[in-house]
């Protein structure tokens, strides 16, 4: 496995001199291979972004380990050559006082100092065309002169300039229009086909479902269900997953109330500590119902 999270925990210290702490992520384990898209779903504050940031080395882990290609994450030049991230708000991802193509310049400064200008321009052009952007249209402009979709694609192009193997995409489409959103998703799908691993973070279940092979459902920092997307969506075992699915508005379907669970499937099927494998690759956690021990 390319990326492996093992019992990852994150505590934030808050208050004076770190007097208190909140646990944002609790004992999360999953993995991700090349060419695979894993979607991370959960309500606001469930710890999705925190996991993404830990993988990107932007926040240190407080417990457990994250390894990339067998080595623990070490934020730095080498790591970022292979692992990159894109965030929710394309507008705040660009420094508003500089031109948008400065994001390429930053990469050149660190990774491709020796590449001559022409060669670099060619590479940038190629990479822009890869994300279906016209270099002439986007280069030399300020972020505010470009649309959200263009900016998100610029960021993807930037990541592609590096030899990346893993992309952490944290709600990259939630600020986009319905139609632009689908374009960006389709682009990710193409990249995946070229062997890129993607951690797709979202709270929109329909989007997670569109791309991902596997889905991880988070609640309050813990994984409640994890498995192949069709299993998780088709046969949700955890009451929370069911609730989420029931709340999603669908075009051709009336809102239904979640099918109530009378017993905790985890305990019913004899789970003892940790996640339990309920089907092939399909894991579930205890529902924490009144009947649970």
């Amino acid at each position: 496995m390319m990326l492996k999270l093992d019992d990852v925990t994150k505590e934030f210290r808050i208050g004076a001199f770190g007097g208190k702490s909140v646990t944002a992520v609790r004992n999360v384990s999953f993995d991700l291979g090349p060419g695979e898209v894993v979607s991370l779903i959960g309500e606001s504050g469930s710890g999705k972004s925190t996991i993404g940031r830990m993988i990107l080395g932007l926040n240190p882990v407080s417990g457990g380990s994250i390894t990339f290609e067998g080595r623990p994450v070490r934020a730095g030049k080498e790591y970022y050559r292979h692992v990159q991230g894109i965030f929710q708000d394309p507008f705040s991802s660009f420094n508003p006082v500089f031109k948008a193509d400065r994001v390429f310049g930053l990469i050149k400064d660190t990774y491709y100092r020796t590449v001559p200008g022409e060669e670099w321009a060619r590479r940038v052009g190629d990479s822009l065309r890869d994300v279906r952007l016209d270099p002439g249209q986007v280069l030399g402009k300020y972020p505010h002169q470009l649309s959200g979709g263009q900016l998100q694609r610029l960021l993807i192009a930037r990541a592609l300039l590096l030899d990346i193997k893993l992309l952490v995409a944290d709600e990259i489409t939630s600020m986009l229009d319905a139609s632009t959103r689908i374009d960006v998703l389709n682009l990710l799908a193409d990249l995946k086909a070229r062997g890129l691993g993607v951690l797709y973070i979202t709270h929109d279940l329909s989007l997670g479902n569109y791309l991902a092979e596997r889905t991880v459902v988070l609640r309050r920092g813990s994984v409640v269900e994890l498995g192949p997307t069709e299993r998780v969506f088709g046969d949700p075992l955890h009451p929370y997953t069911r609730e989420l699915l029931a709340a999603v508005p669908r075009l051709h379907q009336e809102w239904a109330d979640a099918t109530p669970v009378d017993a905790c499937l985890y305990h019913a099927r004899g789970g003892t500590g940790g996640l339990m494998e309920a089907g092939p690759g399909h894991f579930v956690a205890c529902a924490g119902l009144g009947t649970c021990p």
């Binding site: 139609s179 689908i182 389709n186 279940l205 329909s206 709340a247 669908r250």
Partner: protein, 313 residues
């Protein structure tokens, strides 16, 4: 017919000229009806909402009329409009999270607000409405920051509808909430209509799927104009305007995988409202545009209650 908007034009004054955010919009809304308003970002949804209750400093009423329950609303006259606000027309703003004065306990704020409108607070009524949306009465003695986003959202809903307005404008009230809260809030809105707290409602959102669950009628706007308006099911199942169709095509749904069905977006971007092109505004992005589209398409009623602004529809 409780609300009748005709040829409404509202422009924003900017440095570079006037942004024609609403450029001749006409539609009607019946008593008890919920109108879902959808459209791409920047198409003028919020502008419409604001126009019906309070123009902000940069907005200019450039023409058209709004008639509510047989009376014309003086929308350009801030002072006269005040009599209608809250009593006739009310609003749940997009910024519900920050709409409550942070330094007043909610009870006090509500009391003061009502008193300023010459109404005394009926606490029992207030509490019953709160319980209807699942808010405990203790909430009244809290400060807004002590409430979660969803609670604030629901509180604002209750406050805005306290005087049983005839028309309620709900602008993107659910977009900041997670799915489960979103569902609860949407249902509460339906409940309000059903309990008669509000007669009719305009529900603004960009989420077609969500609208479909709430609205009786859906109006699709494009670039400051009406594109299509029809009963909710008709819009979803049998859209006539190419824009509506393309919009529906780009919506992923639970169960749709790109490997199974690759959705497509709408190429291009909407025109600038600063100086919108003549003719059909969707022409540049329209896959089926033709010669005639150089002319403004009229809004035609193609079926009962189904209005479309397209030559090809």
């Amino acid at each position: 017919m409780s609300l009748r908007v005709s040829e409404l034009k509202v422009y924003y004054r900017t440095l570079k000229g006037e942004v024609r955010a609403l450029d001749g919009l006409s539609f009607g809304l019946a008593d008890g009806e919920i109108l879902g308003l959808v459209g791409e970002s920047g198409c003028g949804k919020s502008t419409l909402g604001k126009s019906l209750i309070r123009l902000d400093g940069r907005m200019r009423h450039a023409g058209g009329t709004v008639v509510l329950d047989g009376e014309e609303l003086p929308i350009a006259d801030d002072r006269r409009m005040n009599d209608y606000r809250f009593h006739q027309v009310s609003l749940i703003p997009q910024y519900a999270m920050s709409a409550l004065n942070p330094t007043r306990k909610i009870r006090r704020m509500v009391t003061e607000l009502l008193r300023s409108r010459g109404v005394t607070l009926d606490t029992a009524e207030l509490e019953s409405r709160m319980s209807q949306v699942g808010l405990p009465r203790e909430v009244l003695d809290r400060y807004p920051i002590e409430l979660s986003g969803g609670m604030k959202q629901r509180m604002v809903m209750v406050v805005s509808t306290l005087l049983d307005p005839s028309l309620l404008i709900a602008d993107e009230v659910t977009s900041a909430l997670d799915v489960s809260t979103q569902k609860a809030v949407a249902r509460a809105l339906l409940g309000f209509r059903d309990s008669g707290y509000v007669k009719s409602m305009i529900f603004v959102t960009h989420d077609l799927a969500l609208t479909h669950h709430i609205a009786d009628t859906i109006m699709v706007m494009y670039a400051g104009r009406l594109a299509e308006k029809a009963p909710a099911d008709v819009i979803v199942k049998a859209p006539r305007h190419p824009y509506t169709r393309l919009l529906l095509d780009s919506l992923p749904e639970v169960g749709v995988r790109h490997t199974d069905r690759r959705l497509t977006g709408i190429a291009g971007s909407p025109p600038s409202l600063l100086d919108p092109p003549a003719g059909c505004r969707f022409r540049d992005r329209c896959p089926i545009a033709g010669e005639e589209c150089a002319e403004d398409p009229p809004v035609a009623e193609v079926a009962a209650g189904h209005y479309v602004a397209c030559w090809k529809a």
